[in-house]
């Protein structure tokens, strides 16, 4: 899933030249009828709800040690996810940990979208030596596996939550900008862009109004699948101990802590993993569903 960028690109590329549906209400209706979109949205909303109201839905605090003697206690009605390696409530910690992992992923996504789209759009609209050079650089970077690339950037920037976030964001830029570039090049030569130029519109206006609007749908689909990758890589960095430090709850870090005890206490590792899994799964379902919904909108015409 993580390295399936090609497949993803192929799927999203089917939406080239296919703008977001004209009538928002019909696109919305189709979305509501699509099983995978609804599954993705509901699962995601559920996890986000748990994460945001983590400390309200459970009476246990994520920091309080209930009893060191009860470490690795199995799940019970009182502690539905059980207790962790030093006897803290695992449900409270797992749900609270989502805040860090998810906000890291969101911030890195934002970095990737802003820079990836700008690089792709500008280099796609203005062909030339600079544009080719930038795209070749992006090609080279996208041949490096993303985890490796993130570790590289994280090593350069130094460990820590914000540095890892930036590193993950930078890692996502090459493939996204490559994708946006391809879409832009295809639209650039289309007749309505030539017509817009014939009307004397400025390049910035043409890029924002005429090009971006028409490639928004495939970008949306691509970015949704990319968000899943972001969460995976962020958790991975946490697992390797590059991002958050103990005792900050973070999914990757918690998986790492539980992994050592997996033989006798499965729950300490499984529950945080489940959260990552569900989040990634819901995003992938959402991405697939959106692609179908937006594609079908085109075929209906």
């Amino acid at each position: 899933m993580l390295f399936a960028n090609k497949k993803k690109a192929a799927g999203a590329a089917q939406l080239i030249n296919r703008p977001l549906d004209d009538k928002p209400e019909t696109a919305l209706h189709r979305m509501l009828r699509s099983g995978s979109v609804m599954f993705g949205l509901i699962t995601m909303a559920f996890i986000l709800f748990l994460t945001i109201f983590s400390q309200k839905v459970t009476k246990w605090s994520y920091l309080d040690v209930i009893s060191v003697l009860r470490k690795y206690e199995k799940p019970s009605w009182e502690h539905i996810f059980g207790l962790d390696e030093i006897g803290r409530d695992l449900f409270s910690r797992t749900t609270f940990a989502g805040r860090l992992t998810l906000s890291m992923s969101a911030a890195s996504m934002l970095i990737a979208i802003v820079f990836g789209c700008s690089i792709g759009l500008v280099s796609g609209y203005f062909p030339g030596v600079v544009s080719s050079a930038v795209m070749r650089l992006m090609d080279v970077l996208s041949t490096i596996p993303s985890v490796l690339l993130t570790i590289m950037f994280a090593a350069a920037l130094g460990p820590g939550v914000s540095c890892v976030t930036i590193a993950v964001g930078i890692t996502m830029i090459p493939t996204l900008s490559r994708f946006v570039h391809t879409l832009t090049v295809e639209i650039r030569e289309s007749e309505y862009v030539v017509a817009a130029r014939a009307l004397g519109l400025k390049s910035g206006q043409i890029i924002m109004k005429h090009i971006l609007r028409n490639i928004a749908a495939p970008i949306l689909v691509y970015v949704t699948s990319m968000a899943a990758d972001c969460i995976l890589i962020c958790s991975m960095m946490g697992y390797m101990g590059l991002a958050a430090k103990v005792p900050t709850p973070e999914w990757g870090l918690m998986i790492h802590a539980g992994y050592g005890a997996i033989r006798h206490s499965w729950h300490a590792c499984v529950f945080p993993s489940m959260m990552v899994l569900l989040m990634v799964l819901s995003l992938n379902f959402l991405g697939d569903g959106l692609r179908d919904v937006l594609k079908r909108g085109q075929e209906d015409r």
């Binding site: 004209d22 309505y192 030539v194 817009a196 130029r197 009307l199 004397g200």
Partner: protein
């Protein structure tokens, strides 16, 4: 428009040459080969020729819309005294849409499918005239009504795929003339339409020409359309203008063999029933290896020695501006034919 002197040409093209670069030097194609013509205010200049003769390419070159491998090699394009080819991009952007409008062949694909017709119509007004959104929308509704769209304000809210080709072409035309340009370049505006819609569009263009004092460059491969609308005609073959002059002269006393052959190949309402049309003999030239001399000589029925060696110069036929590029032309023959 008010400040344009009607006795001097609005657009003056001299020696315009456009090439498409290939991968190797031998792939380079000279699509437009040093063409000259003038357009005066109030004229409708028809540029006629077969597919690939460079008629659209030269129009794109005029206002710097060439993309990809095509580039202008030499020549000059003077618009109302300003040299367009040496202008910077911002200067050219200020002229495009404001003083030179352009309409395209296929209105379906020349409008952005993701924007409403209205949003696209008001763009040039806001861009060039500094109109506010609502002022621009009012002007756009007026113009749409003027070009014959019944329910203009509803049309403004429609997306291109919801309108018919004829309506879209009307919307395109109103977009091109909203800023009251002096020159309108129409690149085969009726080719994608059926005959009824075509007649309507031609009528509209004629009316707009009178109302706004437009000069129009009308690019087409259809002599029938030319006869309908144009005051002047330039016939292009293989990147060159082979004959030009007032439309009446071109139709009644064509001087170039290519023009004659083309006119013979069109069905006429007064032709004898069952009579066969005469196709132009031969095939269009390979633009990578254009023939020496006159590019029409391999297909020309009256080819003489010079034709395959030297490129014919432009010869003036009479004072009305009728001229031809042909070695074999003589005044007497034409007047006999006429």
């Amino acid at each position: 428009m008010e400040n344009v002197n009607p006795s001097s040409p609005l657009l003056s093209v001299r020696g315009l040459t456009v090439t498409y670069k290939g991968v190797t030097a031998s792939d380079t194609v000279r699509a437009v080969d040093s063409i000259d013509y003038d357009v005066y205010p109030g004229q409708i200049m028809g540029i006629v020729g077969e597919s690939g003769c460079g008629k659209s390419t030269q129009a794109y070159a005029l206002i710097g819309l060439l993309g990809g491998a095509a580039s202008v090699n030499k020549g000059s394009v003077k618009f109302d005294g300003h040299e367009l080819l040496s202008m910077s991009r911002p200067e050219l952007e200020d002229i495009r849409g404001a003083r030179i409008g352009m309409i395209f062949q296929d209105p379906m694909s020349s409008l952005n499918p993701a924007m409403t017709v209205g949003d696209q119509l008001i763009e040039p007004l806001m861009r060039h005239k500094g109109f506010t959104r609502s002022d621009a929308a009012d002007a756009a509704v007026q113009m749409l009504t003027r070009v014959g769209i019944a329910d203009a304000s509803r049309c403004m809210r429609r997306y291109p795929h919801e309108l018919s080709g004829g309506m879209l072409q009307r919307a395109m035309i109103s977009m091109a003339v909203l800023c009251k340009p002096d020159l309108l370049i129409a690149d085969e505006p009726t080719t994608a339409l059926d005959v009824t819609a075509q007649a309507g569009i031609l009528e509209l263009l004629k009316e707009l020409k009178e109302e706004l004092g437009l000069a129009i460059i009308f690019i087409t491969h259809n002599f029938g359309v030319v006869a309908e609308i144009c005051t002047h005609v330039s016939v292009m073959y293989a990147g060159r203008i082979v004959e030009k002059g007032p439309a009446h002269d071109i139709f009644h006393s064509p001087a170039h063999q290519y023009t004659r052959a083309m006119l013979h190949a069109i069905p006429r309402i007064d032709s004898v029933k069952g009579a066969r049309l005469e196709p132009v003999p031969g095939a269009p030239i390979n633009p990578r290896h254009p023939p020496e001399g006159c590019s029409f000589h391999p297909r020309c029925p009256v080819c003489v020695d010079n034709c395959s060696k030297l490129r014919p110069e432009e010869r003036v036929i009479d004072g009305s501006g009728h001229s031809v590029c042909c070695w074999n032309y003589n005044v007497k023959e034409v007047s006999e034919n006429a």
